[in-house]
């Protein structure tokens, strides 16, 4: 089967569809940023995008390379200090959706972006958690996007940078958290929801052209599939054009600068 869109594009567009006009999103760089802005430019024009650099209600014309690009401030409703961002807006419980990526992810939505190997003698020292530990606990719910790989989707993560559903079940409630935690995982191959009881991520839809085997081959745990497995609707012309235009504008803007 020949696709006229890439798996990356499908991942971003599927993520954008999960966002609504009323959402207040804490946006990370990369796929989450693209998904949030595609949502804003298509079905959710009034969505509020917040970047942890302090920009609230931003509407960038091109995707930022970092979470603190000037474009974010230029187009924001307001820009606040970083302590205010983390105290009033994140800890204050005002963010409906936090977007996280992962170097390592387990089936309960726990995330590692700190180290591969032992913390004190790491095989690979990763950047660390940044805002993730409190994004994971303070946002109303968490969406995760990542490309599938055996290295990334693992049975046991090396370090709990941010807490998803722990060992599953009521782990969050037991820690006193009142937020939902990871409610959605969108990979380049599928859409996953946590099981209502066990909280294990379960594939509920395969992207067009993707098979169960393809999902299992790139995932380090035994994958559960929903009984009524669906197929993710293909990107619409509008979605695809919006994403591609955004990426083209972004590339032109970033390569034009400096060097």
């Amino acid at each position: 089967m020949e696709l006229d869109f890439t798996r990356d594009e499908m991942m971003t567009i599927a993520a954008s569809r999960a966002l609504g006009n009323e959402d207040i999103c804490f946006v990370g760089i990369g796929a989450p940023s693209a998904a949030c802005n595609v949502a804003r430019l298509t079905h959710a024009p009034d969505i509020t995008l917040i970047y942890e650099s302090g920009t609230i209600g931003t509407a960038p014309d091109v995707l930022p390379l970092s979470i603190g690009d000037g474009e974010l401030c230029d187009t924001a409703v307001t820009t606040v200090s970083v302590p205010e961002m983390f105290r009033y807006w994140l800890q204050g419980g005002r963010i409906t959706i936090g977007f996280l990526g992962a170097a390592q992810l387990d089936k309960f939505g726990n995330i590692n972006t700190t180290v591969i190997g032992d913390y004190d003698a790491p095989k690979t020292r990763l950047p660390g958690g940044g805002g993730a530990p409190e994004i994971a606990s303070s946002c109303g719910e968490i969406f995760i996007t990542m490309k599938q790989s055996l290295r990334g989707m693992v049975d046991k993560i090396d370090f709990f940078t941010s807490f998803g559903h722990g060992e599953g079940g009521n782990a969050r409630e037991e820690l006193g958290m009142t937020t939902k935690g990871p409610t959605l995982l969108i990979t380049d191959l599928a859409i996953w929801h946590p099981d209502p009881v066990t909280k294990e991520f379960t594939v509920i839809a395969l992207h067009p052209g993707v098979t169960r085997d393809m999902v299992q081959e790139t995932c380090g745990w035994k994958v559960k599939f929903a009984d009524n497995l669906e197929t993710t609707p293909e990107p619409t012309e509008l979605e695809l054009a919006t994403l591609r235009d955004l990426n083209a504008r972004t590339k032109a803007a970033h390569s034009g600068a400096g060097a």
């Binding site: 983390f86 105290r87 800890q91 530990p133 606990s137």
Partner: protein, 285 residues
């Protein structure tokens, strides 16, 4: 009372071997020129604090100036990992380095508590996170009204903080605009502070009454260094040099290449070189 002086003098008078130092900036207004001057002056045994240590901390670590790093996200923003920092942590090159790692929320609260003269910051954080298992400076306090257990971290109180800002006026007041990050708190939390600015203007009469201004008596030294945050940016002056951040990933990937680049671009350079580095990046509005 802020003293106008050269960056060389300001670094010599305010940064000492063994200091706890913060060179702050949250993507925007990162004080590259100040960090390069510190590198030229060869300071040692520094404890560097920063939410987002990036290229300049990678440089100082690679040059062997850093005893310990306190941080919450060590990455080359938008690009990837910090290769000199990794080499220090993974391979102890050029020497072993201690790390104290927090979350952004913790660091932001810790600077805020430092600016507020408090010994610690109290917030809701680290729930279910492993950092509290490996960082003994993450502790707990219990709310005396609800019984809720909250996280506590020590406040950040640097010996000296360096920031870059858009403007000072002739009285020595400093204006920061746009993504203001944690700069105000980092200055107020520190015993001493050095601010590099794009320009010195007569007055701030046309500035918004609630803009982020540090009065002259809250700042130790001011140095006019146009372009002083390159390849970071100064809102209203020049844009971010994204290509330079991408390039850093290559430069830092190799110890010898790193050292050669540092010699040419830092050790043999001056604060005045920054102005020409941003000439093609000046905003045309």
């Amino acid at each position: 009372m802020a003293k106008f002086q050269s960056l060389k003098d300001a670094v010599a008078e305010n940064l000492f071997d063994g200091d706890v130092a913060a060179f702050e900036g949250f993507t925007h207004l990162i004080p590259h020129a100040a960090a390069h001057e510190a590198i030229r002056q060869g300071r040692k045994d520094l404890t560097l604090v920063r939410m987002t240590p990036d290229v300049i901390y990678d440089q100082m670590i690679g040059m062997g100036m850093v005893k310990k790093a306190i941080f919450s996200y060590a990455g080359n923003p938008g690009v990837g990992l910090l290769r000199r920092l990794r080499d220090a942590v993974e391979n102890q090159w050029p020497h072993p380095m201690e790390i104290e790692e927090h979350s952004h929320a913790a660091m932001a609260n810790a600077y805020e508590a430092g600016a507020s003269g408090l010994p610690c910051a109290v917030f809701r954080g680290y729930k279910g996170a492993d950092l509290k298992k490996v960082n003994p400076n993450i502790r707990e306090v219990t709310c005396p009204f609800t019984g809720e257990v909250l996280a506590a971290v020590p406040s950040v109180r640097p010996d000296v903080t360096f920031i870059h800002a858009q403007k000072a006026n002739k009285r020595g007041d400093v204006l920061v605009e746009g993504i203001i990050g944690i700069q105000k708190e980092a200055v107020l939390a520190a015993k001493r502070s050095v601010v590099t600015v794009e320009e010195v203007v007569d007055n701030f009469d046309d500035v918004h009454p609630n803009a982020c201004i540090l009065p002259n008596w809250a700042v130790t030294a001011i140095c006019e260094v146009p372009g002083g945050s390159h390849p970071s940016y100064a809102h209203g002056y020049y844009i971010r040099d994204n290509a330079a951040y991408l390039e850093w990933d290559k430069i830092a990937s190799d110890r010898d290449g790193f050292k050669a680049w540092m010699k040419d671009n830092v050790l043999d350079a001056t604060p005045e070189d920054f102005a020409s580095r941003v000439s093609a990046l000046r905003e045309s509005k």
